[in-house]
Subunit: 294 residues, 2 copies
């Protein structure tokens, strides 16, 4: 069997091709907008969400083209949220993945439209799949809910409102469950659904896995923000503390945050027990999320 | 048969209920975001796009709940585009429908998230319909294409790039075909598709109708921007000239613009001939679009 690293690199390569294929060509009018959409999406990041889609797709031997489609849709939503998040009226960040952010490289109006158009494109791509149409519609609804005011956008709203407040651990968890957790969860579900309809038991197991890695992802993010440097992260480090944002590190401290991440990794592994060897990549991704250095 | 005015008022009333029903309740967390989403969508505008959905639905006796769903989805896309368009980095407008714009009433970050979340909500609502799932997926794809970089967002990008340029009449038409035309067209198509699958001939006739009213809508908008006052329009009048934006009036002059609007109204009527009496509301809407005073 392929090593995890080999699988990850191969999947990231496939993903880059799928994203190019599912974005409008730069040659089409308006060319500058399309160029900026490519800039925002391509050649960036670890592709954690696409990796989750593919890893969950392996559970039920999902078709590769359908996985590429679902993964591209989720990654476009993620990319649009970063573009809007970086804008001056939100986090006002000039650096992302080691490159100038979209509103710096282009301009603010362009960044606004890039995000808006990427969201539309994500739904266009996902709704164009070749699987059972009832299941495909369910996938569109899941992605829409994960993206909207009861998912990612809602989490960002809570995050903005929380600056300078003393959030409890529960409030912090709820914010992250929406802000980053919803999209990680839908990545797992879309990958599995690309393979087959899910039983209630399967959905519950995948939800438990996704909840655990979603929180772990954020805990580790907070630890890295507090301990790594900007060059390693490819974005401005120490920003949370500077912005007076509540984090796991500010509430629990560094050591307890690390212990929590380790506990969540074990929770994720346990949730996958019923899937046996086919859950190998999902298990390895949980390990990656907790052990990453950037 | 109900008068046009009676039908319009009844449909607008139905629409208001449908929008409330299809938006997340304000009581849900994050309440401020949900309140701002309601503020952006409810109690505003002539609801031209929903009226087109319902009028096209009458062609094939579409189910009322399905029409409400499609109309709500299109109107949420329209409302989100207005919220983002009004932001300082775009048109920087403080007044919309006679009320403070969302970023003025709330703040810029909130306006950004309101628009983003409304777009997700639109796709959630449309993907949740009760008609044939293959047709429903086609409707989702149509709305996504009409909203994205080859539709509305693309038109806005061309519009932004055109400030201060001497556009030809063809270039101006292409910009408006995307910026406002794409969403008007999809309103007509979604209404018809809520009733049944369309033959190529039916699609072509509805496309011709939509193209004509789409351009007419913009020509009349330009005429009103040049001739009406802000109180009548419920938004800042004379803005195009002040921003040095190319318009039909700046290229054709006032009288030729009015003649063009009248010609487009006749084109719209002619495109509907095959549908007979069932196209009555679509014909009346073409008249309304050309004859409106605000």
């Amino acid at each position: 069997m392929q090593s995890f690293d080999g699988w990850m690199k191969a999947t990231q390569g496939e993903m880059e091709l799928a994203l190019v294929q599912h974005l409008p060509p730069v040659a089409l009018t308006p060319a500058r907008l399309h160029e900026a959409m490519h800039y925002a999406v391509l050649d960036g990041g670890k592709r954690v969400r696409p990796l989750l889609v593919y890893a969950a797709g392996a559970l039920f031997d999902a078709d590769a083209a359908e996985l590429a489609r679902a993964a591209a849709a989720v990654e476009m939503i993620h990319a649009y949220s970063l573009v809007h998040d970086d804008m001056p009226c939100m986090d006002d960040d000039a650096l992302r993945r080691g490159k100038p952010t979209v509103h710096v490289k282009y301009d603010e109006a362009c960044a606004l439209l890039v995000g808006d158009a990427l969201q539309s494109q994500a739904f266009d791509v996902l709704a164009d799949g070749g699987i059972d149409p009832v299941r495909q519609l369910a996938m569109v609804r899941l992605l829409a809910k994960a993206s909207g005011s009861l998912g990612m956008c809602g989490g960002q709203a809570i995050d903005l409102a929380s600056v300078g407040l003393n959030l409890s651990l529960e409030e912090l968890e709820q914010m992250h469950r929406l802000k980053t957790g919803a999209l990680l969860r839908v990545s797992v579900l879309l990958g599995a659904l690309a393979g087959k309809s899910l039983s209630a038991e399967e959905t519950q197991a995948l939800d438990s896995y996704a909840a655990a890695i979603g929180l772990a992802f954020q805990v580790v993010d907070d630890v890295l923000d507090a301990t790594a440097d900007s060059a390693t992260l490819g974005k401005t480090a120490g920003k949370d503390a500077a912005d007076n944002k509540p984090t796991y590190v500010s509430i629990l401290g560094l050591e307890q945050s690390r212990t929590l991440a380790e506990k969540l990794r074990n929770d994720a592994h346990r949730a996958l027990e019923q899937f046996g060897e086919k859950a190998r990549r999902l298990r390895e991704l949980a390990d990656l999320i907790v052990q990453r250095k950037a």
